[in-house]
Structure formats: C-alpha cells, structure tokens
C-alpha cells in the first residue's frame, strides 16, 4: 500500500483545509514531518486511524477544531473531513471520512455519525464503492489489527520497550509474525479442525455419527468426550505451567539482578552467576551427550547385539564342508555351452561320462543359478563389516554413559553450590529476604516441571484410551452406510489437519528464524555486530551486547536498546512482508501480504550519533515508503543522513493551542 496524499479539514488543531503530499518516488521515498512534541504529530497519525476506522485513541472524541466549535452559531453546521489518497493492489483509492457537527438552536452540539466513502479509480474511471462494502474494502486494504505495526507512535514504542525490558518477551513479536506473514489463517484452520476438541470440524463429525439405537455407542461417545475434555484441560494446564514457569523465571532474573546490586552480596552474586553459566553449559552438554548416545545406539545396536550370534554362525559355516566354492562369473549357461561344444576352455575333450564331463556337471551345483556360494560369501562379508562396525561400540557406549553421569553429577554439584551461596547470602540481612523469595520461585519452577512431566505421562495414557474408545465406537457405527460417509469426511479432515500442522510448524519456525536473521542483519548495519538477538519458539527475546572496550562512553541506555530492538523488529517485519509478496509458490501466494509504508515517530534522540546514521541509511531501503515525524532538534540529523532520500518535507507551525498549520518546507 502506498500513501499518496492526505487532506485534513478542520481535524482537531488543523484548522481549515490542509494537505500533506507523501513522497512516493522509488528513490526518494521519505517524507519528513518536523515539529515539537505537542505540535500535532500524534494527531496526524490519529487522522489516519480516524479516517480508516472511525475512531481515535484520544480521550476527547470530538475531532472538530476547538476554535471553530466555539465560533459555531446556533443553526449552523461545520464539517470535519479527512481524505486519504492511496494505492492498494493495482487500484487507486480515495478514502473519505466526514463528520458533521451542528449547533442546535438550544445551543447544544449535535454530532452526526462519521460517514465513510470510498472512491476508486480503475482503468481511468472513477467510481464510488457501494456503501455496504466500504468497511470491507478498508479491511482489505489495512485491517485495524495490522495497522498498529505501521503507524508507530512514540507512546506505543515506549510501551513495547517496557515489555521487552521487563518480560524479555513481546507478544507483539509473536502476533506480528503470525499475522503479517499470513500464519493466522493456518492457525485458525488448525483451530477449526482440531481433532481433540469437541467443537471442531472433526469433533463435529464425531458427533454426527447416527446413534439412533445402540446404547453402547452413546456410552462411547460420552467416554470420548470426557477424554477430549480431559486432554484439553491438560493442554491448558501445560500452557499455564509454561507461563507460570516463565513468570517465575523472570522473577528469578529480577531478583538476581537485585542481589547483584546489594553491595555486600555483590561478590557472592558474581560467583553465583558464574556457577549458573557453568550449570547451563553443562545442561546443554548433557542434552547433546544424551542425543548423541541414543543416535549411536540406534545405529549400532542391532550389529552389537548380534555379535555372539555372528561368531557362532561363522564357526559353523567354516567347520562344515558344505561351503560352496563358487567360481566367479561362471554361470550354468557357460557349462552347458562347453558341454555342448564338447571342448573345455583348456582344450580338453568333453564326452558324456568322461572325467571332464563329470567334473563340469558337479560344478553346476556350485554356480548360479543353483549356487548359494555367492550368497554365503555376501553374508560373511556383511558379518565382517558388522563386527568391525560394532567393535568399539560397547566401550564407547560405556564411556559416553559415564560422561553423561558425570554431567548429571556436575549439574547436581553446581545446583548444590548455588544453594550454598544462596544460604550464605541469606545470612546477610538485606539479602535474606531476596534470597528467600528467589528460593520460592525456584521451587515453583521445579514443582511445575514435575507437574509437567506427570501431566505428559497422563496425557499419553489418556490418548491411548481415547484412541481405543474411538476405534471401538467406530466398529459399532460403521455398519451404517451414512456413517461410512462421515467416516470418510472425518478421515480427510484428519489428514488435512496433519498436513497443515506440519506446514504450520515448518512455516512458523522458518518465519521466526527469518525474522531473527533479518533483525540481526539490521543490527549488523547499525551496530557492526555489537548487538544481536535470538528469538526462541515462545518468542522470548535474548539480547547479546558485545562489550565495547574503551571506544566511547556512549553506552546505550536500556531504553535505547529496546527501542533499537523495536525499530529493527518493525523494519524486519516490513522487509519480510515485502519479500513475501515476491514469492510464487502456490501456498505462499495464498499467504502473501502486500508491502506497507512505515509511519513512525522517530525517536532519533534515543540513539547516539553513531547509530543515527546507520538507522537512517537502513530505513529507506527496507520500507517502500517512510513517513517520519521528528523533533526540531533532530532535524539537522535527519537532513544529514536521510537527505538524499527525502522527497517531501513539512513543518508543524503551531500558531496557538488550537491552530496548527502544516507547512511544506
């Protein structure tokens, strides 16, 4: 979507008719609007929202200019209008939101409902969209839920920054990824199909079975529904557990930070952190070791277990004389041929009954197609290779297992050392309370883990019972023709669900990884590798800042850090949306999205000077169109770094509290 022009009529402080033209040129796609805080940046952004969706975030819902409102005489009316020219898909639209304010004879202000009209131009003709279709068109152009990613005002940036700082996670990320790259459709589809839910497509087919007579079928149905409900509850609880664990974990992190700030415990806390790092490292090593052990087991087990059997088999084979001694590359046909021509290869005459003849006939037993000599030889070769292969396996296994036990012990050791330190810190009065709370949360985490393991076990056995019940019921009901049809539908629905699940998993993981890569690339261009992040499958964000030794004393504040993340995130999303629109694979095009402009309140002052240049260079290359609001003080900076890309410039000229003019510069 490309924004071309916005016309305001009496919208809040923008008195009279004022127009903003947006830069749309490929190379000069930046529009800079400059003004102090309070001069109208937020209002301008809200004008977009009001025009498209009919509402604003302002407490005061009156959008008519205050001066005009005061001057409005009884019996007169005043119009507020916001008109936006944009291009979406291949069509040019003009979106017009108009609201009439009338001063009644009683002196009261009557506010009509704001009216939405859309004009569109196709093939040179300009027409109005039918009234009942306008909302639909707006939803197609930019649904309200997605608009938040492209109209970024300063306050929202602040809020998101708090989220990232405090929780180390942003639901915005998760939602954005899913929504913008089209995964929401997949999620919805999966929800609607879900086999374990009673109210899904598959659940509905389960219910559709005709249970007119058999009481047993009804019983099974109740059983099945019970199991499904139990499974849903368990899944819910598992989700809760995950969240509770994360909350507890972030509390722990908070408390650890507190501890490190208390002067007396600083040393202990540092020690503890070292141990925790070692602990994590060991836990990872442990997990890898287990995986590798099992992988090796799967590769070598069969060969290893066969060792003694192989030995016996080979012994028997070698002892017996029955080992065929085949002659390579000689077939029965060869012998027949030689016998028929009556002369052997060496020249000896072959006659029926003579020695040569008898020898040749005996050979027939040992060569293909009669012989098994080759098969046996093959078998022996295999035996040799298996033995070699399995040779060290047992020793390797024992060693690997020992290593794993070592890791286990080290893990326990680290955990107990950490415990000891915490106890020591408890001795210190100020730290005591914090440490106690820390213990409490740690216990929460480990309790939840236990609960989760138990629940998973339960889940497994309920699933088995559920399958059993479904199969039993199916036996009973399939006798009915109609039920057979439903069974077919259900089977297809299940298959569709399975394929979609696979696709979703792949796509989500792929998309999240892409987002991570994109964001890190943007970081690279701004921070030269000094900052990077990872996003895990629960959308927890971990930021890595490389220590810069003695380069400058401008260390980013944590606000700046999270703003950098947000900025990179927005840029990353936009880039992905653009990349997506170029894909041609069929399921991809079903999920594609259109590139969107980026409208943001640029917190340039949160960045230090080194970064601003990088930020300004990166931005225009990523979004199709940029509309950026900046403060006066940042004006020079923006000119310096964005200069060549700026297509249009405006300035908020605030005359007084109620009148602001948008002036082109």
């Amino acid at each position: 979507m490309l924004l071309k022009k916005m016309k305001l009529l009496n919208f809040r402080q923008f008195i009279g008719e004022q127009t903003v033209e947006f830069a749309t040129d490929e190379n000069k796609n930046v529009t800079v609007i400059m003004g102090e805080n309070g001069s109208g940046k937020t209002t301008l952004a809200q004008a977009f929202t009001w025009c498209l969706y009919g509402n604003t975030d302002f407490d005061d819902k009156l959008v008519l200019n205050r001066n005009l409102e005061r001057q409005l005489l009884p019996g007169n009316e005043c119009v507020v209008k916001v008109e936006i020219d944009l291009t979406h898909g291949k069509t040019d639209y003009t979106i017009i939101r108009e609201q009439v304010y009338r001063r009644e004879l009683t002196g009261k202000i009557k506010v009509e409902k704001p009216e939405l009209k859309i004009k569109y131009k196709k093939d040179g003709q300009q027409e109005f969209v039918r009234p009942y279709e306008v909302d639909f068109i707006v939803k197609q152009i930019l649904p309200m839920e997605l608009s938040r990613y492209f109209f970024f005002d300063g306050e929202r940036i602040g809020n998101m920054s708090k989220e990232i700082n405090k929780k180390g996670r942003s639901d915005e990320f998760a939602q954005a990824v899913r929504g913008l790259v089209g995964l929401n459709a997949l999620i919805k589809a999966l929800e609607h199909l879900k086999p374990t839910s009673r109210h899904s497509v598959i659940g509905s087919y389960n219910k559709d079975y005709d249970f007119n007579s058999d009481v047993r079928i009804t019983q099974y149905t109740k059983e099945i529904e019970d199991y499904q409900d139990k499974l849903e509850k368990i899944d819910q609880r598992l989700n809760e557990i995950e969240n509770e664990k994360q909350i507890a974990q972030s509390k722990c992190d908070e408390l650890n930070i507190k501890l490190s700030q208390l002067p007396d415990t600083e040393r202990l806390q540092k020690e503890k952190e070292k141990l925790q790092a070692k602990l994590e490292q060991t836990q990872n090593a442990y997990a890898s070791a287990v995986s590798s052990l099992l992988k090796q087991f799967n590769k070598s087990a069969a060969s290893y277990f066969s060792q003694s059997l192989i030995k016996n088999a080979l012994e028997s084979l070698s002892k017996s004389e029955k080992l065929d001694k085949g002659i390579p590359d000689i077939h029965a046909r060869t012998i027949e041929f030689l016998i028929n021509r009556k002369i052997c290869i060496c020249g000896t005459k072959i006659e029926v009954g003579n020695e040569a003849y008898n020898e040749l006939k005996k050979t027939l037993e040992y060569i293909p197609p009669q012989s098994i000599g080759n098969s046996i030889a093959q078998f022996v070769k295999e035996s040799e290779s298996r033995t070699r292969y399995a040779g060290d396996f047992f020793d390797t296994f024992i060693n690997q297992y020992a290593t794993i036990r070592d890791y286990e012990n080290n893990i326990l050791q680290f955990q107990s050392d950490i415990d000891v330190i915490e106890k020591q810190m408890e001795g210190n009065e100020r730290a005591a309370g914090v440490v106690q709370e820390l213990r409490r949360y740690k216990k929460v985490i480990s309790d939840r883990q236990h609960e989760r393991d138990e629940l998973n076990q339960k889940k497994g056995s309920i699933k088995t019972s559920l399958d059993r019940a479904i199969t039993e019921r199916k036996e009973l009901t399939l006798r009915d023709e109609r039920n057979k049809k439903i069974e077919v539908y259900r089977t297809y629905a299940l298959r569709v669900f399975e394929e979609l699940s696979l696709t979703y998993k792949q796509k989500e993981s792929e998309t999240r990884k892409n987002l991570e890569i994109n964001i890190n690339e943007i970081f690279k261009s701004i921070y030269n590798g000094g900052m990077s992040l990872t996003i895990d499958d629960r959308y927890n964000i971990q930021v890595f800042v490389k220590d810069e030794i003695g380069i400058s004393n401008d260390v980013e504040t944590s606000t700046a850090q999270s703003i950098s993340i947000i900025f990179a995130f927005i840029a990353g999303i936009i880039k992905m949306a653009r990349d997506n629109s170029k894909k041609t694979d069929d399921i991809e095009t079903v999920l594609d999205t259109e590139p969107y402009p980026l409208v943001m309140d640029a917190p340039l002052s949160a960045f230090d000077k080194r970064r601003i240049k990088a930020v300004c260079t990166v931005l225009p290359n990523i979004a199709e169109q940029i509309i950026i609001f900046i403060k006066d003080t940042d004006g020079e900076i923006a000119e310096e770094h964005l200069g060549s890309k700026i297509g249009k410039r405006y300035l908020f000229d605030k005359k007084n509290e109620f009148e602001t003019y948008l002036m082109p510069r």
Binding site: A287, A302, L314, S318, T387, F394
Partner: protein, 178 residues
Amino acid sequence: MLFDKEYTFYGIHAEKVRKLTFQFDKKNNSIFLSNVNVYKTAPIIGFLYQRKAELDKTPEIKPTKIFLNEMLNHLNDLKYSYQLIMLLDTKNESSFEERVNKAFRYYGNESEQTLADEQLFEQYVRGGIDVLYEKLIENAVNPEDYLKNLYDFMEEINDRYNSVITDDSILELCRLEI
C-alpha cells in the same frame, strides 16, 4: 516376506513399539528413533532371549507402521537378521545343511516351508519387542530412568554374550577360505 513392503505392528506390540519410540525428554529424545529401528533390533533380542510371541489381535489398539521407503532403506539389515536366525535356530531345524538352505537357498521363495519360517521370524520379532519393553520402558518415569535402563540392558547383554568374544576372533573367522 522379503521385507519389501510396508510393515504393520498390531495389538499390544504396536502399543509397545509406540512406547519404545516415545519421546521422553524436553529435547525429544527417544530410545528408538523410529519403528524400523525397533524392527531391526527386536528379532535379535527375541532370539537371544529365546522369547517368541503370538500375534496379538486386540482390535481396539491402533496399529503402527513402517512405511515402504523405510523398509527399503533397511532391507539389508533386516535380511541379515533373518538369515542369521535361520542359520542358528537348531530347535527349528536340526540339520545344519537345511539351516543353510533356509538362510540362503530358500530365502523368499514363497514355499509353504519358507512361509512358516517367516512366521517364526515374526514370533521372535514380537518376543523381542516384549523383552525390550520389559527391560527399557516398563518401569521408567523420568528421562534419567530411560537412560539407566538402557545402560543396565547393555551391560546385561555384554556380560552374558559378548564378553568372551573379541573382535579379532570374529574378524579372523571372517577370513574364511572362499
């Protein structure tokens, strides 16, 4: 048989195979990575422990399969297990010569006798699954239990069967005069 088609586990053994391939920890580790790994190992174990089991026909239990391409990938291993067992099962056939024939000459020839041998093989497979399940899975709750069970099992096998044989003796035997 010939191990060239899709294979299905039924009844209680299907359930045990599922448990043997169950992912027991956060990193999705399982003792056996897939059904075909169980199928490769089970007959050997069944024969070692001299355990056979009949086909369980409990209809309520969902079967579990090994798809064709996996069977084909492991065809050699499966064939090898079959031949090994045919060679060694004296209770099935006392004459060594006949056992050699069963392993090599009659392999896959679809005769009544061969089909009976294949059924025998399947019984060892199921018996092996029973053993593996008992030893590795039955009493395991935590991830650590699975690993410990596996370790104990490996030790048991080693002590009982492999500790006297060295690799060299086997490799020596392999160098037969052919």
